[in-house]
């Protein structure tokens, strides 16, 4: 049983998680758009080059502050207060031995980027900050890093940084976790594992599960009719069989989606659903769909 976050409202920081290809960026951007539409302002945080957030926000960026966190800059920024000065930090991090170590030690990068998120949230009281987190696997590892740091480092400024992240960002009430998934049995199983890992290993309850790409229903009688026509010898038998096979696949996907959503509902998660669109929906479209589901 996965603990459910208390209350309905999302926290100041919203961390959007999920495995690759499920539409994490789309959901994160549309949550930011929705928030900006409702409260005038929102922040979308992206790790990397900023391209996917820009693309997702295209034409709907009013009120959304899109911030991009790059690892090298985050490390420099996070290190300055630890070392006491930006210059000493730069000298230490630029050292021949430190540079390759920083590249090889993923945890340092993750800490620095989480610290950037913490600062962004702290600097903007009252503004919701939506974070497009890295894909699963990595995502959980990220959330675990401050805890591991606290257990591992007995003392010192780096310990303090981990401790502060654990108290001020990665704590129930400080950040909400939104997990994005697809309405397919196997993907959902992985998602439930992810939810359990987030709750168990990072101590964070799951606030919302967004089920993306829920197949829309096609006319119900069409499948039976197509099968009937396929059974009649003639030039349309084969085309009708092809249609029947496609409709059966759709009906199957739809039934699987309904079952997946039922299963989720039984785990007591709050669910938002987004319909399957044949091409990329815009963040504005998705924001509208999410609003219809009761978001934010």
């Amino acid at each position: 049983m996965i603990p459910r976050a208390p209350g309905k409202r999302l926290s100041a920081a919203v961390l959007v998680m999920g495995k690759g290809g499920v539409g994490k960026t789309t959901v994160a951007s549309s949550l930011a758009v929705l928030e900006a539409e409702t409260h005038g302002r929102a922040v979308l945080v992206e790790f990397g080059d900023g391209e996917s957030g820009r693309r997702a926000l295209a034409g709907a960026h009013r009120g959304v502050d899109h911030l991009v966190i790059r690892p090298a800059e985050a490390i420099q920024r996070g290190a300055a207060p630890l070392f006491g000065s930006a210059t000493i930090a730069r000298l230490a991090l630029g050292n021949f031995a430190m540079r390759p170590l920083l590249r090889a030690a993923p945890a340092i990068r993750e800490l620095a980027m989480l610290e950037s998120v913490r600062q962004i949230v702290a600097d903007r009281p009252g503004v919701r900050v939506v974070v497009d987190m890295p894909a699963t696997g990595h995502g959980v590892a990220w959330l675990r890093v401050p805890r591991q740091g606290r257990d591992f480092l007995a003392a010192g400024p780096l310990f303090d940084l981990c401790d502060r992240l654990g108290r001020e960002l990665l704590a129930p009430g400080r950040a909400s976790i939104v997990v994005v998934t697809l309405p397919e049995r196997l993907v959902l199983e992985e998602t439930l594992e992810l939810c359990a890992a987030i709750a168990g290993e990072a101590g964070m309850p799951i606030d919302r599960v967004v089920v993306n790409r829920v197949p829309i229903a096609l006319p119900e009688e069409a499948l039976g009719d197509a099968r009937a026509l396929a059974a009649i010898p003639g030039p349309l038998a084969e085309p009708a069989a092809a249609l029947a096979s496609l409709l059966a696949a759709r009906a199957n996907a739809r039934a699987e989606a309904v079952a997946a959503i039922d299963l989720l509902a039984r785990t007591d998660h709050s669910i938002w659903r987004i319909p399957l669109a044949p091409v990329d929906p815009s963040a504005k479209d998705v924001a509208r769909w999410l609003r219809a589901e009761g978001a934010p």
Binding site: K19, G20, G21, V22, T25, E51, S52, R55, L82, F83, I88, L91, A92, N95, F96, A97, M98, P100, L101, R103, A104, A105, P106, A107, A135, H138, A141, Q148, F152, L153, A154, A155, G156, P157, L158, F159, L186, L218, P219, E221, A222, D225, A226, L229, P235, L236, E238, P239, A240, A242, L243, S245, L246, A248, A249, R250, N252, P278, V279, D280
Partner: protein, 377 residues
Amino acid sequence: MTPAPEPLVVVCAGGGGVGKTTTSAALALALARAGRSTLIVTIDPARRLAGAMGVPITDEVTRVSLDGAGDRLSALMPDPRRSLGTFVDGLFEDEPAARARLLGNRLYRGLSDAAAGVHELVAMNLVARASSRGAFEVVVIDTAPSRHAIDFVTYPSRLAALLGGRTVAWLAGLAERAAHAGTAEGASAPRGLFAWGTGHVERVVARVTGPNLVPDTASLFAELALVRERFVALTRRASELLLGPRSSYALVAAPTAAARDDVVYLAGRLHKLGRAPRVVVMNRSESRPAPWARALRGGRGVTAPMAEALELLEEERASRSSAADALTADLGARLPDAPIVRLPFVEAIAPDRIVAALADELATHLDALLAAPARRG
């Protein structure tokens, strides 16, 4: 014993959600149907497809019986969760004491699932082992759904260089000095050009990180440095397979802007490695209605619900198709040397039916994929 002939390697890369695993399987099936003994390797196995193909997720090569493949198709789907253990066991085969120390290292235990590239490296070495028996003419590699799917090719060699470099020597000295802190401060600090800066860095870093991090990092690197030779050998084998003269690259996209950008990004990464994509496969992007859909339109016996369903399906196809037209034109301009193969959106209950249908479509494109690799400088 004469070495077995090296297989041709086709690396399929692309972003998440574009149908890369299905496309890779279809390509492998098409090759097997064309008479070539083929191994499909899935780096990040989708359990659904593995199940549909009857392939267990293990380190063993499994024969796949798909329509028309005969006995020429095999699959290898190693479990990512087990690969770090496999990797460490292989590296430290002759160093059991160092292996035990490594497994007990707090830093290693924390790092274990973040070790980028390890799974790929393990998978490539399984491929090397399988293909050294000469059993396969072609190996199709389905990479992880990420922009960084091919970066691991360079990552291990960087790490190998690191393990042989000054960093390890410095860390080893640092760990020793940390152990004797206060007794003879600075006595064994490195001499020469870097001595001054390094002494300062040591003090500053130790102050920031606290007492545990530096010694644990140092011992972790010391254990890895012990097995550096093996590490380098593993890396070299993976690089030879992936970047060797017999490898080619297929980038997989779908009609979305995100997928297009992933493909452009990956092509850029390949370019940096001196390579170019041989072909771009655009999934779910058929440009015309299927013949059966045209046949049914206005046909006798087509009921109103059927007509409505056909209309909805046609609307979906048309919007996918026009998105694909725009993206194909755009990709064609950015990657002028890579032909774009558009595949239809195949919907079926059983994933193996989808694989079989896409294999039919890919059959005419096999030569383009396997021709002598184009090199870029």
